[in-house]
Amino acid sequence: MFTRIIRDPASPTEEVSALLCSVAADIISTVEFNSTGELLATGDKGGRVVVFQREQESKNQPHRRGEYNVYSTFQSHEPEFDYLKSLEIEEKINKIRWLPQQNAAYFLLSTNDKTVKLWKISERDKRPEGYNLKDEDGRIRDPATITTLRVPVLQPMDLMVEATPRRVFSNAHTYHINSISVNSDYETFMSTDDLRINLWNLEITNRSFNIVDIKPANMEELTEVITAAEFHPHQCNTFVYSSSKGSIRLCDMRASALCDNHSKFFEEPEDPSNRSFFSEIISSISDVKFSHSGRYLMTRDYLTVKVWDLNMESKPLETYQVHDYLRSKLCSLYENDCIFDKFECVWNGSDSVIMTGSYNNFFRMFDRNTKRDVTLEASRENSKPRAILKPRKVCVGGKRRKDEISVDSLDFSKKIIHTAWHPSENIIAVAATNNLYIFQDKVN
C-alpha cells in the first residue's frame, strides 16, 4: 500500500553504525506537515529544524512527483544553562507547529523544554546591485571620481531560503514544555508543561496568561501531571489536555479566565480484572489529537489508541490494540524504561485512518471503517526506495510462521515515536531514531 520515497534526508550516505555521539544529536524528536502538506518540518535532539518541500510535478520527471527535498535547515535552539536553578536546558526540539500561512513566507513555532520560538522561513530571489563608493567587485572608489549618484537596482539571483527568528516566548514555564498548539483564531497559542498551561498572543512575548494550573500547594500531594494539550481545530474557545492518569479534560475558555475547572471529563473506568502494578503507568496518555472535523478525539496510551466522541465522556468510541503482545513483557519494559516512551498518534486527512508507532521500527495503521489494521516496518534493510512495503506480523504464542517475528526478537531500541500524516493526501512521515521515512500511497 505504501512506497517509500526518500530516506534519511539529513545524511543520505551515512551508515547506521556511525558514531553514537553524533547520532544522538540527529535523533528526530518531532515531525509535522504544514496545513497544505507542501512542507514538512522535523526537529531533532540537537536543536535543529529541517524543513522539506514537496517537489512540484514536472513533465520530464513524473516519478519525482511528491518527493520531499530539503528546503531549509536551521538551528532553532541552543543548549543553555539556567544559572539561578543550576539546570541545564537541553536544545532538543519537543514540538513544531506550523502557523496558517499569512503571506508568501512560512511561519512555525518550535519549542524545547523551556522556550518557544517563532520562525519565519522566506524566499529571496532578488539582490540589490550598484554601490556609489565601491565597484561591484568590492574595490573602493575614489570619492573624487563620483559625479553622479547611483540608486541600487534589484537584479534576479538564485533562490535563497532564509530562516529568521521572529519572536522568542520565554520565562513562562517552570516545568518542561510538552505541547504547543495554535488556536483557530490565528492570534493565540498555548504552551503546556507538566503542571500548567499558558496562553500567549503570537505578537506579545513579554506576557502570557496562565489558564490551567494543577500544581497542588504541597508538591507531595501531586498525583498526576499534564502530558499533552491541544486546541480544537475550529472552536477557538475549546481545548483539551490529557493527564498521566489516563483522563482527558475539555475546557471552555468562554466560561472563565482560569480553566482549572473542566467542562468535560473523558475517562474509561478501569477494568478491575486487569489491574496490576503497571496499570497506572500504561494508562498514562502520551498524546491527544482532535480529528480534523473536530468531532473526535484520539488518545494514545502505552498499549492502545482510543477514539472518543466529544459528546460521550463515559467511554471511548473505539479502542485499538497497538501491541497487546507486550502486556506480558511489561516487567522488562519497566526495567529498561521503555514503558515510559511517549508514542504519538495521527489522523489521516479524512479522519478515517489512524496511525501510531511501536517498537522494532514498526508502525500501525487502523482503518476505522473497515476495522482492518496493518503493521508496517520502516527500515533500510527491508525496503528500497520506491519498493512496496510488506505488512509485518508479530507471532503471538503458538508456532511461528515463516514471515512472522517472535515477540522476543523485537528490538526495543528501535522505536517509532513520531509520525505525521499529510493533511489531504496519503503521504506519511515516520521518524525512526535518526532516519526520516516518507511513504506514499502507490498512485497506480
Binding site: Q102, N103, A104, N132, P143, A144, V151, L154, Y186, E187
Partner: protein, 683 residues
C-alpha cells in the same frame, strides 16, 4: 572670486563635496549593520532631495518597493517616511507613485509595520485629487481587499473610510461591497480587522447606508463564531450608536448590544463592561435607565472575576453620568446592593478595583446617604485582608473628607493605617508612607500627634533603607504642613535623640533627617539644635557616619549663618579633611569646596572650582595613565601631595609645560583661534 572664474571645475568640485554624503547614505541603505540602514532610511528625504523628483520616482521608489526583506524596524521607519514624501516625488500630482512601496509594506506579516503603512496610505490619500483617488488609490484598496493572503486583506479594512467620502456613487457602491465581503472573510484575522474598522467606516457612510449596510454587518460580526471577533464588534456598536437617531437605536443596535452583555464568552462581556461609559454616552439617558442599568447590575454580578473587575472600575463614572432626575434612586435601589456584595467579593482584584472608585460615590450621594450606606462599606474595606484594597481606600480619602469629614472614619482608619504601617511587605509600608502627608493634612495636627507620630518615627528605624529614606522625606512634608514650631516640639528632639543610638545606621538616619529638615525648619532651629549634634558626630568611630557629617554640613551650610560657618563648621571640616579614611577626606574636601562662597579658605587653590575647570586640569587628566574617575583622581592627587606648597610648585611646572605646548600648537595650526580641546586631541 577665483572660483567664479572657472565655472566648470567649480561645479565639479562642489558636486563632489555635496554628493559624497548622499552617496554614503545610499550605499548604507544596504549596509549589513541594521543601525546604519535605519539611519539611512530615516534620512530618506535627504536622499530624495539630492536625487530630485524625477529620479526619486523612477529609481528610488522602485528600489524601495522591493526592499521588504528588511528588519521590522527598518520597514517601520520606511513606512513612516513614505507618509510625508509627497513633496519629494513632485507634489500631489505624482503622489500616486508612493502607492507601490506602501502597498508592499501593507502586506508584510508584522502588524506594526502594516499599521504604519496603512496610516501613511490614509495620510497620502488626502493628497490625491478626486480623479487620482479613483484612478490610483481605489484600485489599490481593491487589490489589497482581494489579495491572496490575509495580511493584505486586513490592511485593506483600514483604507475604505478614507476614500469613501471623496469618490463617485458607483465607486462608493463598490467600496461598500468590498467591505461587506471582508466582513464575512474566511479567516478570523480579516473579520477582526473589519470588525475593528466598522465604526470608523460607519462614520463616513450616509445614514441610510448605515442602516441598510452597516447594521446587518454589525449584527453578523457580533454573533460571529469567534469570540475575538465578537468582542471587537462591541466597540463598533458604540460608534454606530452615536451615529443613529435615538428612535432607531432600540430596533437596530440594542438587541445586539443586549446580547453582547450576556454573551457566553466572558471576554465579550468584559469588553462590554470596559466600554460601558462610552456606551452609556452613546445611547442616551432613556436607554440607560431602561437597559443599561440592569445590564450593569448583571456585569457587577458576573460569574467571571475579570468582568466584575472591569465593571467595578466603572461604578463611579456610570453613576456620575446617570440622568440627574433619577440618579439617586437608581444608585440606591439598583447599584448599591450590587456594590455591597462586591465589597465582600472572593477575588482581591475585584475588591481592589471597587476600593479605588467607591469613595467617589460619596460626592454623588451626599452626606446622609454616605453616612448611612457607604460608610459601613468603607469600614469593611478598610479591614480587608488584602493591603491593596485598604491602600486604595486610604488613597482616596479626600473624596469622603469633602462630604462628611474624615472624623467619621478615624476610628477605623487608625487600625487600618497601623496595620499597613507594620505590614511585612516593605512595598506596602512604602505605599502608606506616601499617603501620610495627605492623611496628616486631613486628620489634623492633634490627631496626628496622638496617633500617628509614633508610626512616623518608627519608620525611621525600619530595616529597609527605602522605608527609612521615604520616612525622612515624609518628615519634611509634615513640617511643611504643620510648621517649624511643631517640628521643634515634636520631631526634632526625637530625631536628634537617635544620634546617640548604638546602631550606626540609625545615627546616619539622624543626619539624613537633618539634611531634609534644615531648610523647612529654618536657620534658628538648625543652628541652635541641629548643628551641635552634627558637629558632635564628626568624631564618630564609624567612617560612614563621619563622611555623612561632612555631606550634611555641606547640605545645611546655606541655611547656617556665616559666623557659625566660620567658628564651628570650618574647623570640623578641616579636621575631617585630614581624616585617616579616604572617603571622609574626599567628602570633607568636597564640602569645603562646595562652601567656597561662605568660607574663606587657606587652601582654596587646590579645591576651588576654578582650578577644576582650568585647561591645566584637563591637561593633567589627559596625561594621567590611570582609569580613575575625575573625583577619585582628585583624592589621589590630594593624598599624593600632602603639602599644599608642593602642589603650587607642581602646578607651576605644569603650567609652564602646558603653555609651551599650547603655544606650539597654536603656532603649528597657524590659526589664532585654537582652543583647549584641540590641544587635548593632539595630545
Amino acid at each position: 572670486g577665483n572660483r567664479a572664474a572657472q565655472p566648470g571645475t567649480t561645479q565639479r568640485a562642489e558636486g563632489d563635496d555635496s554628493l559624497y554624503p548622499i552617496a554614503v547614505l545610499i550605499d548604507e541603505l544596504r549596509n549589513e549593520d541594521v543601525q546604519l540602514r535605519l539611519n539611512s532610511i530615516k534620512k530618506l528625504s535627504t536622499i530624495a532631495l539630492a536625487l530630485g523628483v524625477e529620479r526619486t520616482r523612477t529609481e528610488l521608489l522602485p528600489f524601495l518597493t522591493d526592499t521588504i526583506y528588511d528588519e521590522d524596524e527598518v520597514l517601520l521607519a520606511l513606512a513612516e517616511q513614505l507618509g510625508s514624501f509627497t513633496v519629494l516625488v513632485g507634489g500631489p500630482e505624482f503622489v500616486h507613485c508612493l502607492l507601490p512601496p506602501l502597498e508592499s509594506l501593507a502586506t508584510v506579516e508584522e502588524t506594526v509595520v502594516r499599521d504604519k503603512a496603512v496610516e501613511s496610505l490614509q495620510k497620502i490619500s488626502q493628497e490625491h485629487s478626486p480623479v487620482d483617488l479613483e484612478v490610483h488609490f481605489v484600485p489599490l484598496v481593491k487589490r489589497l481587499a482581494s489579495g491572496d493572503w490575509f495580511t493584505s486583506r486586513t490592511s485593506a479594512c483600514g483604507l475604505f473610510s478614507v476614500c469613501y467620502p471623496r469618490v463617485s456613487s458607483t465607486v462608493k457602491a463598490e467600496i461598500r461591497q468590498h467591505f461587506r465581503t471582508l466582513c464575512s472573510d474566511d479567516t478570523p484575522m480579516v473579520r477582526r480587522a473589519a470588525s475593528s474598522k466598522l465604526g470608523e467606516f460607519a462614520k463616513v457612510l450616509e445614514l441610510d447606508y448605515v442602516k441598510s449596510d452597516i447594521i446587518p454587518l454589525f449584527t453578523a460580526l457580533a454573533s460571529d463564531e469567534q469570540d475575538s471577533v465578537r468582542l471587537l464588534a462591541v466597540e463598533a456598536g458604540v460608534s454606530i450608536a452615536t451615529l443613529l437617531p435615538q428612535e432607531d437605536l432600540e430596533d437596530l443596535v440594542m438587541p445586539t448590544l443586549r446580547q453582547a452583555a450576556e454573551d457566553k464568552s466572558w471576554r465579550v462581556r468584559y469588553m462590554v463592561a470596559d466600554k460601558f461609559s462610552e456606551l452609556q454616552k452613546a445611547v442616551g439617558p432613556e436607554i440607560t435607565k431602561n437597559d443599561l442599568v440592569p445590564a450593569f447590575q448583571n456585569l457587577l454580578k458576573d460569574c467571571e472575576a475579570e468582568v466584575r473587575t472591569a465593571a467595578a472600575n466603572k461604578v463611579k463614572v456610570f453613576c456620575e453620568s446617570l440622568p440627574e432626575d433619577s440618579r439617586e434612586t437608581i444608585i440606591m435601589t439598583h447599584i448599591l446592593p450590587c456594590v455591597k456584595e462586591l465589597v465582600s467579593d472572593t477575588n482581591q482584584h475585584v475588591k481592589s478595583a471597587l476600593a479605588s472608585v467607591i469613595m467617589g460615590l460619596s460626592t454623588i450621594l451626599g452626606k446622609d446617604n454616605t453616612v448611612e450606606h457607604l460608610l459601613p462599606l468603607f469600614l469593611v474595606q478598610l479591614k480587608d485582608e488584602y493591603p491593596e484594597v485598604r491602600l486604595n481606600i486610604i488613597s482616596n480619602l479626600d473624596c469622603v473628607n469633602e462630604v462628611i469629614g474624615i472624623r467619621q472614619l478615624s476610628q477605623s482608619l487608625l487600625p487600618a493605617i497601623v496595620e499597613l504601617a507594620e505590614d511585612a511587605k516593605w512595598r506596602v509600608r512604602l505605599a502608606i508612607i506616601e499617603y501620610m502627608p495627605l492623611l496628616a493634612g486631613q486628620l489634623g495636627v492633634e490627631f496626628f500627634d496622638e496617633k500617628l507620630n509614633s508610626l512616623c518615627m518608627a519608620w525611621l528605624i525600619d530595616h529597609v533603607y527605602a522605608i527609612r529614606e521615604a520616612a525622612t522625606c515624609n518628615l519634611m512634608k509634615l513640617v511643611e504642613k504643620f510648621g517649624a514650631e511643631w517640628a521643634q516640639n515634636t520631631i526634632v528632639p526625637k530625631v536628634l535623640g537617635m544620634a546617640n543610638d548604638s546602631n550606626y545606621l540609625h545615627r546616619m538616619t539622624t543626619l539624613f533627617c537633618i539634611n531634609a529638615l534644615s531648610e523647612v525648619c529654618g536657620q534658628e532651629i538648625t543652628t541652635k539644635h541641629m548643628l551641635p549634634v552634627v558637629l558632635k558626630m564628626s568624631t564618630d568611630q564609624v567612617a560612614n557616619v563621619r563622611f555623612n557629617v561632612a555631606r550634611c554640613l555641606q547640605k545645611i551650610g546655606p541655611v547656617l549663618d556665616s559666623s557659625a560657618l566660620q567658628a564651628d563648621v570650618k574647623p570640623v571640616l578641616e579636621k575631617l579633611a585630614t581624616d585617616q579614611d579616604m572617603d571622609v577626606k574626599y567628602f570633607a574636601l568636597e564640602a569645603i569646596s562646595g562652601m567656597y562662597p561662605f568660607i574663606s579658605l587657606t587652601f582654596q587653590h587646590i579645591s576651588s572650582q576654578k582650578h577644576f575647570n582650568s585647561p591645566l586640569y584637563c591637561f593633567f587628566f589627559s596625561f594621567s595613565p590611570c582609569c580613575l574617575g575625575y573625583r577619585r583622581l582628585h583624592c589621589v592627587i590630594v593624598k599624593f601631595f600632602k603639602h599644599y606648597l608642593w602642589m603650587s610648585c607642581i602646578y607651576f611646572i605644569y603650567s609652564c609645560i602646558y603653555l609651551f605646548i599650547w603655544s606650539t600648537c597654536t603656532f603649528l595650526k597657524g590659526s589664532s583661534d585654537a582652543h583647549f580641546p584641540q590641544v587635548d586631541m593632539i595630545l
